[in-house]
Amino acid sequence: MPEFERQTDIGPPHYEQFLPEVIKKNYGKWDYHEIIKPGVMVHVAESGDKLYTVRCASPRLLAITSIRKFCDIADTYCDGHLRWTSRNNVEFLLTDEKNIDPLIKEIEDYGFPVGGLGAKLSNIVHTQGWVHCHSAASDASGVVKCVMDELMPYFTGEKDLPAKMRVAYACCLNMCGAVHCSDIAILGVHTRVPVIEHQDLPKMCELPNLIASCPTGAIRPATVEGVQSIEIIEEQCMYCGNCFTVCPAVKINNSETDGLSIWVGGKVSNSRVAPKFSKLAVPYLPNNPPRWPETVAAVKNIVETYAANARKHERIGEWIDRIGWPKFFELIGQDFTKYHIDDFTHAGETYTRTAQLRH
């Protein structure tokens, strides 16, 4: 008999065992909450009980060493309870107000700043990048680190923002970070037609799947170098890389020409205005590790322009809708190019079909 007897289809452990007592007692009976200082909030229950939350940043990629350190801290101050947020921040759950400051000191000393609550910049949701993924047009963790180094005051609350700001990063058009509805999205882009390894292709890939994978129908079957392979109609290829996703013999990665693009104005909440997609702001910036200065500068410029100009409670997309896209491009100093105009299936729906214009 093996040491450990595998079980299948048991599902995740039940969450209840992980809830602190104060939550179990007041589950579903919270009355209100208040942010008491940057990164710290209190939830008050109908019973009068209080739950304090201290939120700290995380690079998402965590060593078990760090997780164990979090455990030590949680054992000391939180009766062993903590959680992660949907944006990869860590939340320590306390009942004793006196523990807040010592906890903050300890976690910040360990290198994890506290903040991100309320009308602030939160953590950048991101993806694998060169750390683990084959499709990545750029690294994920590295770009995120560089951008957040620069924007940290908006996380910790040293600098103010009109409203919540959600930045997201995805390393290719698969968009695992679901960056398509972010205040600011940084997106890795391929910019060249894939190179086909014809000799490998028939062994590795199924032709019908491969052909069906292309959003613009750029792929057609062809006999090349004596094998049943494919050809790509160059003018129809917009480098999405989906052919590579289904077929490793169609190489999309390119160390010279892969780069980054920046998108703005998306949101997810239904608050005030309906959820929105992010729209293209900066079509292409070079891949420039280790510190991606062009990308960092571009993002910072957008954040600062927004912070200086938007009204209270306005997410960046609401602000742009109020001032108009021409003004936005003017303010951030970005040329409007042919790349900004949609040319995919529903492109016509984005054309301005009114004479309502600012002049």
């Binding site: 299948t8 995740p12 455990c71 968009m175 959003p215 209270k312």
Partner: protein, 401 residues
């Protein structure tokens, strides 16, 4: 133990105030060869501006079709310890709540079987164990999943063309606005569809996300094939005295609250907040601004929306309204939601194309046809507006009266 890799480029990323993933890798690289080699191969990517990972092929644990993403590097000679570098998707508990005991257990297992590196969490919500060998898969899984005293067992989440690991917002555990029990719903659905989670037999992936109110703190409307978003049917609960307090303590209620209401259905005269609830679209804005004074109504449930996804192939989609209001009583065991889900899976399972998400499927076959097959009546809430083009497929029923 080999020497720690030289990484001049990555070292640049140890600088600066934000927590450094390079530091994280180095925390393990000193004693874990896999972590050390991932550091090395990543430095190479930084030098060459290109990924050194290859497609995975099919790796996994026995009897499961998903839960592991296979990964190999293209420089196995130079970086032998990451020749195989698969990730495990370990199904997180609802709401990402942990106690330190469970966390330490996860760390111990991963120290033993893998790189010691994780993502807390993956974008879909899983605990991601980042990088293990093929050989380690079975023992690691066995250790995670085995029954043990006083320690919860963990299972794998989804990958491939199956139901993906559901996730949910913190909900009633800590949020005063949760209109249904997101943690219970997420747990219940996950447990009820274990087969669908572990064994891919759908046309493509299918994701669930549960948000307790329209603030949608799990971004469900942007990235779940089924987005369950809490809402209410009756009137917003108002405490006028508390509204007045906000008004005197720095919130300009008329401008900031009423003025930004999307339907302008509220007015504040200094004493009474007058809400025309029949025109309130449950956007949460006023409640968000004055949590002490306003609360969602008491007749609560959820809006079910279907079909969001990333751009590939037909362009990104947000989920669209499928059931405007569904009761989400835990007592009911979410039977309605499950029935609808199974009806969708049956239909899409039979008629969906390979790699066609349900949102794309609905657009291809038409929402009306989809509803007819599922057995739901069309309601105007499902569309922003009725059709503008006159290309109507009339049935004979129009001639009856």
């Amino acid at each position: 133990m080999t020497e720690q890799r030289k990484t001049p480029l990555l070292d640049e990323l140890e600088k600066g105030p934000w927590p450094s993933f390079v530091k994280e890798i180095k925390k393990e690289a000193g004693h874990n060869p896999m972590a050390n080699d991932v550091l090395g191969i990543l430095e190479r990517s930084y030098e060459e501006h290109i990924s050194h990972w290859k497609h995975g092929g099919i790796v996994g644990v026995m009897s499961y079709g998903g839960g592991v993403i296979g990964r190999y590097c293209d420089l196995p000679e130079e970086f032998p310890n990451v020749k195989e570098f698969h990730t495990y998707r370990v199904n997180q508990p609802s709401g990402w709540f942990y106690n330190t005991k469970a966390l330490r257990f996860l760390c111990d297992v991963w120290e033993k079987h893998g790189s010691g590196l994780t993502n807390m969490h993956g974008s879909t919500g899983d605990i991601v164990f980042l990088g293990g060998s093929t050989e380690s898969l079975e023992p690691c899984f066995a250790e995670l999943s085995c029954e043990k005293e006083d320690m919860p067992a963990f299972d794998l989440g989804g990958s491939g063309s199956n139901m993906r690991t559901p996730s949910c917002c913190v909900g009633p555990a800590r949020c005063e606005w949760s209109c249904y029990d997101t943690l219970d719903a997420c747990y219940n659905i996950t447990q009820s569809f274990q087969d669908e989670l572990h064994r891919p037999f759908f046309p493509y992936k299918y994701k669930f996300k549960f948000a307790g109110c329209p603030n949608d703190c799990v971004a469900s409307i942007a990235r779940a094939d089924c987005s369950v978003i809490g809402t209410w049917q009756d009137d917003i609960q108002v405490d006028n005295a508390k509204v007045a307090e906000y008004d005197t303590n720095g919130t300009d209620v008329q401008t900031e609250v009423c003025g930004l209401c999307p339907t302008k259905c509220m007015a504040w005269d200094g004493k009474t907040l007058d809400i025309d609830n029949s025109n309130c679209v449950r956007c949460m804005h006023c409640i968000n601004l004055m949590p002490k004074a306003l609360k969602p109504g008491k007749d609560r449930g959820a809006t079910i929306l279907i079909g969001s996804k990333a751009p590939i192939i037909g362009g990104a989609l947000l989920s669209s309204v499928f059931v405007p209001f569904l009761e989400m009583d835990p007592e009911s065991d979410y039977e309605d939601l499950k029935e609808l889900t199974e009806a969708i899976w049956d239909l899409w399972g039979e008629h969906g194309k390979n790699r066609e998400r349900v949102g794309e499927f609905i657009q291809r076959v038409g929402l009306s046809n989809f509803l007819e097959e599922i057995g739901l009546d069309p309601v105007p809430e499902m569309v922003m507006h009725p059709r503008t083009n006159p290309y109507i497929f009339f049935d004979d029923e129009i001639f009856e009266d």
